[in-house]
């Protein structure tokens, strides 16, 4: 056997970090390609297993510091990120605008530079304006993770939705997904559409014209204004929250009329094909976009989405902080995707 060769590249294909390995930030799903998304979802399996243990904690990110910097209200996303960081043994600091110097007029940039001076490895940012996380990425050496910016993006939500679907359906190829409701103001919808279509799903947007963006041309989606014609032929019904806080103009006559046409009522839910999944990013307005009873049905995977959120965020934190980067070598690493 002397002198024979064996190619080890094949054996190592499952651990190839080259796709995600150089990524410093997670700012938008637009620059994630299908193999990267699939790698992340595969990695999430490991963290689901960690979360199910008696002691759900591993020392992977010991000594790293993760800051949650939320300029906008949130309970589940912030708690989810903090839980994820703690399960990886990272230290967490949280920053709430209401009790911070931002109220004294400190700028975002000064805030970031102040926090960074304390020594941090990752910042999880939510802001009401689109693009703030990308801007922050240019100001700091820490890894920046977008936890929602304006109407723009909410990458980890889309990834956890894709993971939830994958765990039920195996693959998203050819799966018919209806995204129903306020697409216009929804960063969740923008991120979901991109991730779902990249993974091969057929996405239909269902909304009144006033709740759709001016153009849906950049996306490979169908658009319908008639929920009843779609509901019988959908494998996944993804409901969006009516974002009353972002609605400054009268886009629907009344919430009751919206519910009558675009809410997932009990009658509509009965018409869904067998095994169709019902999803919602939360927080739900029961009785508006989804009937209270429907949200508690066995095929509603809404709480599962939340549970998977922790594991997906562990995978994201591990990928941006973990493999192949020494904390001392921060400055050598170019800010890939920081645009």
């Amino acid at each position: 056997m002397s002198g024979t060769t064996r190619d080890l590249t094949e054996a190592s294909s499952t651990v190839d970090t080259s796709s995600f390995g150089d990524r410093r930030h997670l700012l938008t799903v637009s620059d994630l390609e299908r193999p990267e998304i699939e790698q992340l979802l595969e990695l999430t399996d490991t963290f689901v297993e960690v979360s199910n243990r008696a002691i759900p904690k591993v020392p992977a990110l010991r000594g790293r510091t993760v800051v949650t910097l939320f300029f906008e209200d949130s309970t589940r996303t912030r708690l989810s990120f903090e839980t994820a960081a703690k399960r990886l043994s990272a230290d967490t600091m949280s920053f709430a605008v209401s009790s911070s110097s931002v109220n004294k007029g400190e700028s975002v940039r000064d805030t970031i530079e102040t926090i960074e001076a304390m020594g941090i490895d990752a910042v999880v940012v939510r802001h009401k304006s689109s693009g703030v996380p990308a801007q922050i990425a240019g100001w700091t050496n820490a890894a920046v993770i977008n936890a929602g910016d304006g109407w723009h993006q909410h990458p980890t939500q889309a990834l956890l939705d894709a993971y939830t679907l994958r765990s039920h359906l195996g693959s998203l190829d050819g799966v018919r997904i209806s995204i129903v409701g306020d697409v216009k103001h929804s960063r969740v919808a923008r991120s979901d559409i991109e991730v779902f279509t990249k993974l091969g799903a057929e996405v239909t947007l269902v909304a009144p014209p006033t709740l759709l963006p001016p153009s849906t041309a950049p996306w490979d989606v169908r658009v319908s204004h008639d929920f009843d014609s779609v509901v019988g032929s959908t494998d996944v019904c993804y409901l969006l929250r009516m974002q009353r806080e972002r609605m400054t103009e009268a886009l629907v006559p009344t919430l009751r009329e919206y519910t009558a046409h675009y809410g997932l009522t009990s009658a509509r839910a009965d018409r869904l094909p067998d095994g169709a999944l019902i999803m919602h990013p939360g927080p739900m307005n029961r009785g508006v976009e989804i009937a209270g009873e429907v949200a508690d049905r066995p095929n509603a995977v809404i709480t599962e989405q939340v549970a998977n959120g922790v594991a997906v965020r562990m995978a994201v934190l591990f990928l941006v902080l973990g493999p192949g980067r020494a904390s001392g070598a921060k400055n050598e690493i170019s800010s890939n995707g920081a645009g």
């Binding site: 056997m1 002397s2 064996r6 190592s12 651990v15 297993e49 992977a60």
Partner: protein, 194 residues
């Protein structure tokens, strides 16, 4: 396990060029048989034992060892066999951040480890750092009565005070050499960069 680290070290891949065949399939099987006898002798039977294969090289080895132990102990159909678990220690490594480390497979420990004897199984024992990580990981799953270590090849160059309890073959190596272990044999060679 050292081999796994190398495969994951940048630049990825490379071609393993075998120089010497050290063991063939029959040698591997004979070594497994002897190790199985030693495991049973040392533990006065198989009842308390849980085999845990380290991802990825140790998994096949652990299953093979369990099969041999069950043969030797002449277990009947339906009798509980020797449980085999798998462990991915990537999240416990001390070199996360120094070199690329990603979990390869999901850890699967099928039984409660409290009070049992865990035999960690791996293909190659090199620096001992993987085993150090595995000890940490095992302790997160329970409190075994004892933890033992079985490896097919001990190639030396330890960096930690760790020693194996059951060894297929002691193989003196140079640090830059590569040991490739499969069920069909053991080869010594080098990794050639592409």
């Amino acid at each position: 396990m050292a081999e796994r680290e190398r495969r994951m070290t940048r630049p990825y891949g490379g071609v393993f060029v075998a120089r010497t065949q050290v063991m063939d399939a029959a040698d591997i099987h004979r070594a497994l048989r002897r190790m199985a006898h030693e495991v049973i002798e040392h533990n006065h039977g198989h009842e308390e034992i849980v085999l845990v294969g380290l991802q990825t090289g140790g998994v096949e080895m652990a299953h093979a060892l369990a099969t041999v132990i069950e043969e030797i102990e002449e277990l009947e159909e339906g009798e509980p066999g020797v449980p085999v678990g798998t462990l991915d220690v990537a999240l416990y490594r001390d070199d996360i951040g120094i070199r690329p480390v990603l979990p390869e497979e999901v850890t699967d420990i099928p039984v409660d480890l409290d009070g049992r004897v865990v035999v960690l199984v791996d293909d190659v024992l090199f620096t001992g750092r993987t085993i150090r990580a595995a000890l940490d990981a095992v302790c997160d799953y329970g409190r075994p009565r004892a933890v033992q270590l079985a490896v097919m090849v001990d190639r030396g160059h330890r960096e930690l005070p760790i020693r194996p309890d059951y060894v297929g073959k002691n193989l003196p190596t140079r640090r830059n050499e590569l040991v490739d272990v499969t069920m069909s044999g053991v080869q010594l060679g080098e990794l050639q960069k592409q």
